[in-house]
């Protein structure tokens, strides 16, 4: 089955690693994968995305509008930005905490996380809002937001991979000293 996954957030939030972990897990199950991500100037505090496509019959790494099975949003405004890519019955897993862009701080542009979440509630049936701040505080690390969100995404069953599959790829890609923390992070949400 073809699966299209969109990951989005702000440069530096760890979307790329999350996308690599999914890809590597799919590869080890012999599922063909293609992906694409923002590289270059936009990484300097700009909005970034990863497209990940798994399964047979995929020719390009880009996901068309209305074709994503799941959006994994690291920041609520960015989740809203990518919403046009979601399928009508698609799943959204999003972090709750908004990140204020410097430009908004300067111009006094009003930007409110709750407004974003409210909008998502009206548009998405399968919405999962994750309190990333709370999770990071409890886990005692500011570095594992990506893994917490990825874990929540796996539990929605919108991606045909298990926590164990991802842990296997983590073992290939992460330093052993970070494994314990990341394992905790992946099972953090219920």
């Amino acid at each position: 089955m073809m699966k299209n996954i969109v990951l989005c957030g702000i440069g530096g939030q760890g979307t790329v690693l999350a996308s690599k972990l999914i890809a590597s897990a799919a590869m080890s199950k012999n599922i063909p994968v293609m992906s694409a991500e923002t590289i270059g100037m936009a990484q300097r505090g700009g909005n970034v995305f990863s497209n990940l496509r798994m399964g047979e019959g995929v020719h390009s790494p880009m996901i068309a509008k209305g074709q994503a099975d799941i959006i994994l949003g690291f920041e609520p405004g960015e989740t809203v930005r990518m919403l046009p890519f979601l399928k009508a019955d698609g799943v959204v897993v999003t972090n709750k905490r908004a990140i204020m862009p410097t430009t908004a701080t300067l111009s006094g542009f009003h930007y409110d996380a709750d407004e974003m979440i409210d909008y998502l509630k009206t548009r998405v049936n399968k919405l999962h809002v994750i309190d990333g701040d709370e999770a990071l505080k409890e886990l005692g690390s500011s570095k594992v937001l990506n893994i917490v969100l990825l874990g929540a995404a796996l539990r929605t069953k919108a991606i045909e991979l298990s926590e164990e599959d991802i842990i296997c790829s983590m073992e290939k890609m992460l330093k052993p000293e970070f494994m314990e923390l990341n394992k905790k992070a992946i099972y953090y949400t219920k």
Binding site: S24, A36, Q43, M62, G66, P84
Partner: protein, 605 residues
Amino acid sequence: MHNEFMMGNQAIAMAAIAAGVNLVSGYPGTPSSEVLETVAKKRLDNCYVEWSVNEKSAMEVAAGAAYTGARTMVTMKQVGLNVASDPLMSLEYIGVKGGMVVLVADDPGPISSQTEQDTRTFAIYSKLPCFDPSSVEEAYQMVIDAFDYSEKYHTPVFLRPTTRVCHAYQSVLIRDEEEYHLNSIEGFVKDSKKWVIFPRLSNINHRLIEERNDELSTVFSSYSANKIINKDSQKLKAIAASGICYSYVLDVLEEIKTEEIAVLKVSTPFPFPYDLTRDFLKNHDEVLCFEELDPVIERALDHQCGIEGISCKVRGKLTKDSIRSGEYSIDLVREKIYNYLGLELKEDKASVNPPELPVRPPVLCAGCPHRASFYAVKQAMKGKKTIYCGDIGCYTLGNAMPLDMVDTCLCMGAGLGIAQGVNHIEPDTVCFAFVGDSTFFASAITGVVNAVYNQADMTLIVLDNSTTAMTGHQPHPGTGRTMMGDIVNKISIEAVLKGIGVEVVKTVDPLDYELAVDTVKEVANLPGVKAIIFKSPCIAIVKPNEPYKVCQGDCINCKRCINEIGCPAIFIDNGKVTIDNSLCTGCGLCSKICPVTAIRKAGEA
């Protein structure tokens, strides 16, 4: 052979290694940089690799090596090709002995470039054969083919992937080390009739080049990457595509399973495979073209219809059936194909009337020393008539509010010339040129020589952060490291400037705020060409200092810290000015600006 999940640029590098490449040179530029970096990591002992000082040097180094029979590759982005075009245009007349692949990554959009130029058009202009991959997997095979064609026809060849191929990831079947091609190098054989370009030689070789390209047009007509799918489709409408657009077309056709429509894929836009396309045009009434940047395929097909009297309507950019600038998205291709075939495209419903979203333009990182440098110049020049000529690099981002310190930006190294031009016409304007350390070596030195020789009044500001930050931290002549892993003498920017005859050259740490401002005030007033080197490493290559914090008891909420420097670590949280301590690198700039010293090191708060 084995499977590996890799980025397009990595696949290109691995293919070059598998093809037995002996030398790879290049200059960094998005989206091409990872090719050379991967070669440096994965090369065998028989391969030399270097970041050259600029694309022209890289081209000449690769050409010299190819003269000996070595297989070589030179890498750059599309605007880099402009810099390298001088040697390349002549090299085509001379030719090569070993295979030479000129990898030029194009950037439709543009996403991270100054221009939307099309290297396929450059291929036609320079008469070099050109390969245009449509996927990561195809790029791998194409590099290997490109080396073979180059060697067989004694010509450098272009490989021109675009961003969506360079930066896409896919699992690719790659060769194991035992399967690599082993190139035997004959060595340079003296023959001045062959290697020394003269008008007479160029005249003879030009004729041979035209004949060779005729032959290649025929040869490419049966090259496996040029093909027609659903060849026997009875439909009168057909599609032609190249590069990533071809993959988008396949994705759309996968969706519209019922339609068997013929698709022509052109992977060698030059020389164009006319023998392959002839029957395709004859068999259809209408062809819609999907290609980014210039209408290269469209023109060739239209041209063939014209001279061969084929009555097929070729549609695309020239007929305004498609967009003539910008990147093609899968959505655009989808919409055009649905319209073309008269199918109904269902509207997606997930997103209706979304709330207004903040724009997030790229900004200088929190703690970036460039911010301090720009701010020091801005403060020192308050009230003066100035022009700030910028350049290409992270520091182009100094244009953003509130810094607003880049008045012009054209191309690598141009800031120096622009500042001089303005100075000659407006002597009462204080003229500054800002250039980064990597750009200084790449293309600013001749500009300094020009300024000194022609007696301009200007101040050169070198923003020396000891790396090539924008493209991913490549070393350069000032860093003392090479891609072969050697530690070499650092070339001193200060010594270069003094050697040229710039009498006043000051090196200052921009984070030493008062000294930085005073130095600018002092130096900018002097006559002639003078230089300030603001030296402080990029925050991405050094450990951060202790973060700063706003002592809420002292803060008078004047927002000077936000409105003056725009550091992304400072934000307003529930009406209070706050520093995000996970972003703050402790550069201290904001603490110098706060009128009531409310910003202090977290430890001292």
